[in-house]
C-alpha cells in the first residue's frame, strides 16, 4: 500500500456551499457604500482590505527606499540631508516590515485560510475587523512623525538604544505608540488565525490534512503570540527610559545598552521567520500545482517549518557577534545558526524534488515561485556565510548584510506574496490576470531585483557600511547600479497594480478550478468565490488523485 498524501482530496459539496449566503440572518441588514467596508466582518472583504493596505504601504515604503537610492546614486550629498536620510532608511524598514509584508500575509491568511479548511469565516469576525482598522491608525501615526519638529525616527528599524532613547528625537514616543498599536493588531490577527485553524476545520479534516499554507501560518501565528509581547515589552521599557526616568538601557543609571539588543533580537529573529514561513506555504502550494505532481515530503515540510520556528528562538545573538559577547556565547550562537541551515535546506531540496519528473508549466504564479526558490536560496547562502562568526566580523553592518536580507525579503517574502496573488486572483475576481502583462511584470522584477541587490554583496565585501548617506569613491559603481536597479524595480511594480486592477475589472473567465493541477479545497468553490462560502460545512474526504 502506497503511503497517502493528505492535501489531495475531493470534496462532496453540500448543496448550499456554493450558493452564496445572501439570505443568511447575520447579514440581513448589510450597510452599503463605504460603511460596508468599514464595518465588514467578512473574511474575504477584510482580506482584501489588508491586501490593499499592504500594497499601498509597499509603495510608500518603496518611495522611501527610492529616496535613499536616489541620494546614493552618486557620491556626495546631492538631494537630501543626512538627518532626513536616516529617517528615510528607518521608515523604509519599519513600513516594509510592519505595514507591507506582515499585513500582506495576514490578508492572504484572511482570504484563504477559511477557504482552504472549509470554514465559513474566521473564528472571530468582529475582532478581525478591529485588528485591521488598527493598522491604518498605527501607520498614519507613524508617518505623521515625519512632520513633527525634530523629525521622525532616525535610528534604523532596529532602533538600538541609547540612540533611540537618550539621543532620540521628540517624536519617538509616538513611534512607540504606533508600534504598540501595530503589535496589538498583529497579535489579534494571530489569535484569530489560531482559533480558526484549530476549531473551524471542515469535518474530517485533520491537522495533517491541512494545506501547507495553513500549516505555516499556524506556526507563524504561534511565533507572533510568542514574540510580539516581547517587542511590546522592549518598547515599553524604552518609553519608560525616555519619559519616566528609568534606566533599563542607560549605562548612566546602571542599565545596559546591550540588553536592548538581546531583547530586540529575541523578538527580531523569530520576526524574520514570521515574514518568511507563510511564503514557504504559498510556494509549497504553487509548485505542486504547476508541476502537476504532489509535493515531495509534505510531512518533512511541516516538521521542518516547526523546527525552523523552534530554532529561531536560539539564534538571536548572531545579530550581535560584534558587541563583545564572551567566546562561549559566540560559539553557541554560531553553531545554532549554522544548524538552522539544515531544515531550511530540506525545504529547498523538497521543492526541487517536487519539480523533478513533474509536468511543468510556467504561468505567472509559477514563475514567481521558481524565482523565489532560486533567489531565496541565494539569500540563504549569504546567511550561511554570515553565520560563520569570525567572517561575520567583516560582514557585519555592511552592505553584504543589506544584500542578504533583501534577497530573503524581496525575492523571498514579496515574490511569494506576488506569486500568491497571481495564484489566487482567479479565485478572488473570477478572471485570470493578464498573462502577457504578468509575464512582463515578472521579468522586469527579476532584472530589477538582481540589479538592485546583487551589487550590494560586492559593495559590502569591499567595505561599505550600511546606513551611510554618502560613501567613498570605490563604491560608486556598485551604488549606481543598485540605484538604477531600484528605480527599475520600483517602476515595474506599477505593472503589478495594473494587472490587479485589470483583473478585478474583467478578463478571461476562470472556472472553479482555475489551475489544472490545483488540488486544495479553495478550488472547489466557484470563481469568483461568493461572499459567503461553506456556510454548511463541506465533508472532507481524503482521496488521492495520483494513486
Amino acid at each position: 500500500m502506497a503511503p497517502k498524501l493528505p492535501p489531495q482530496h475531493s470534496l462532496q459539496h453540500s448543496s448550499t456551499a456554493a450558493a452564496g449566503g445572501h439570505s443568511h440572518h447575520d447579514h440581513a441588514a448589510q450597510p452599503k457604500g463605504i460603511l460596508r467596508w468599514v464595518l465588514t466582518t467578512n473574511h474575504k472583504e477584510i482580506g482584501s482590505l489588508y491586501l490593499i493596505f499592504s500594497l499601498t504601504m509597499f509603495f510608500v515604503g518603496g518611495i522611501f527606499a527610492l529616496v535613499v537610492r536616489a541620494e546614493l546614486f552618486q557620491p556626495g550629498l546631492q538631494l537630501i540631508e543626512p538627518e532626513f536620510f536616516n529617517q528615510m532608511t528607518t521608515m523604509h524598514g519599519l513600513i516594509m516590515v510592519f505595514a507591507a509584508v506582515m499585513p500582506a500575509f495576514t490578508g492572504l491568511a484572511n482570504w484563504m485560510i477559511p477557504l482552504q479548511i472549509g470554514a465559513p469565516d474566521m473564528a472571530l469576525p468582529r475582532l478581525n475587523n478591529f485588528s485591521f482598522w488598527l493598522l491604518p491608525v498605527a501607520f498614519t501615526l507613524l508617518l505623521s512623525t515625519l512632520l513633527m519638529p525634530g523629525g521622525g525616527p532616525n535610528f534604523g528599524w532596529t532602533f538600538y538604544a541609547p540612540l533611540s532613547t537618550t539621543y532620540a528625537p521628540a517624536s519617538t514616543t509616538f513611534f512607540i505608540l504606533a508600534l504598540h498599536i501595530a503589535g496589538i493588531s498583529s497579535i489579534l490577527g494571530a489569535i484569530n488565525i489560531i482559533a480558526t485553524i484549530l476549531n473551524m476545520r471542515a469535518p474530517g479534516m485533520r491537522m495533517m490534512d491541512m494545506p501547507l499554507f495553513v500549516w505555516t501560518w499556524l506556526i507563524t501565528a504561534f511565533l507572533l503570540i510568542a514574540v510580539m509581547p516581547v517587542l511590546a515589552g522592549v518598547i515599553t521599557m524604552m518609553l519608560m527610559d525616555i519619559n519616566f526616568g528609568t534606566s533599563f538601557f542607560d549605562a548612566a543609571g546602571g542599565g545596559d545598552p546591550v540588553l536592548f539588543q538581546h531583547l530586540f533580537w529575541f523578538f527580531g529573529h523569530p520576526e524574520v521567520y514570521i515574514m518568511i514561513l507563510p511564503a514557504f506555504g504559498i510556494v509549497s502550494a504553487i509548485i505542486p500545482t504547476f508541476a502537476r505532481k504532489p509535493l515531495f515530503g509534505y510531512a518533512s515540510m511541516v516538521y521542518a517549518t516547526a523546527a525552523i520556528a523552534l530554532l529561531s528562538f536560539l539564534v538571536w545573538a548572531h545579530h550581535m557577534f560584534i558587541v563583545g559577547l564572551p567566546l562561549t556565547a559566540e560559539l553557541f550562537f554560531m553553531y545554532s545558526t549554522m544548524l538552522i541551515a539544515v531544515p531550511t535546506g530540506v525545504k529547498v531540496f523538497n521543492w526541487v524534488t517536487t519539480l523533478f519528473r513533474g509536468s511543468i508549466s510556467f504561468e505567472p504564479p509559477m514563475l514567481f515561485a521558481l524565482a523565489f526558490v532560486v533567489l531565496f536560496t541565494i539569500g540563504g547562502f549569504s546567511g550561511l556565510m554570515l553565520a560563520i562568526a569570525p567572517a561575520d566580523f567583516q560582514y557585519h553592518d555592511t552592505y553584504f548584510v543589506v544584500a542578504h536580507f533583501h534577497y530573503v525579503l524581496v525575492p523571498g517574502a514579496i515574490f511569494a506574496i506576488m506569486a500568491g496573488v497571481y495564484y489566487w486572483l482567479p479565485k478572488w475576481t473570477g478572471y485570470y490576470p493578464n498573462e502577457r502583462l504578468a509575464q512582463c511584470h515578472f521579468w522586469c522584477s527579476i532584472v530589477g531585483v538582481n540589479l538592485t541587490f546583487f551589487p550590494m554583496h560586492f559593495a559590502g565585501l569591499a567595505g561599505m557600511p550600511r546606513r551611510i548617506p554618502d560613501y567613498a569613491l570605490q563604491f560608486a559603481d556598485f551604488n549606481m547600479l543598485s540605484s538604477i536597479g531600484a528605480f527599475f524595480f520600483g517602476a515595474s511594480q506599477l505593472m503589478f497594480v495594473l494587472v490587479v486592477v485589470m483583473c478585478v475589472r474583467g478578463g478571461k473567465k476562470a472556472p472553479a478550478k482555475a489551475w489544472e493541477g490545483a488540488e486544495d479545497l479553495e478550488w472547489s468553490v466557484p470563481s469568483p468565490a461568493p461572499l459567503h462560502t461553506f456556510e454548511t460545512p463541506p465533508v472532507f474526504n481524503r482521496t488521492h488523485h495520483h494513486d
Partner: protein
C-alpha cells in the same frame, strides 16, 4: 514513548515519512509530542552549550 521521541527527533531534522506521520497523528495525544519536543529542545540546547564550552577551552 520511544516512537514519540523518534518522531520528534526526525521533526527536528525535518525528515519524516508519511506512514510514521499518519501514526503520529492518529495517536491523538498532542501533549506527549509537545512535552517530548520541549524536553528534546532543552537537551539540544544543553548539548550545544556543552560543545561551545568545550570548544572555548
Amino acid at each position: 514513548m520511544w516512537s514519540v521521541v523518534k518522531s520528534v527527533l526526525s521533526a527536528l531534522l525535518g525528515v519524516q515519512n508519511d506512514l510514521k506521520r499518519q501514526q503520529d497523528f492518529s495517536s491523538g495525544n498532542p501533549a506527549a509530542f509537545i512535552v517530548v519536543g520541549i524536553v528534546i529542545t532543552l537537551v539540544f540546547v544543553l548539548i550545544l552549550v556543552g560543545i561551545a564550552v568545550i570548544a572555548s577551552r
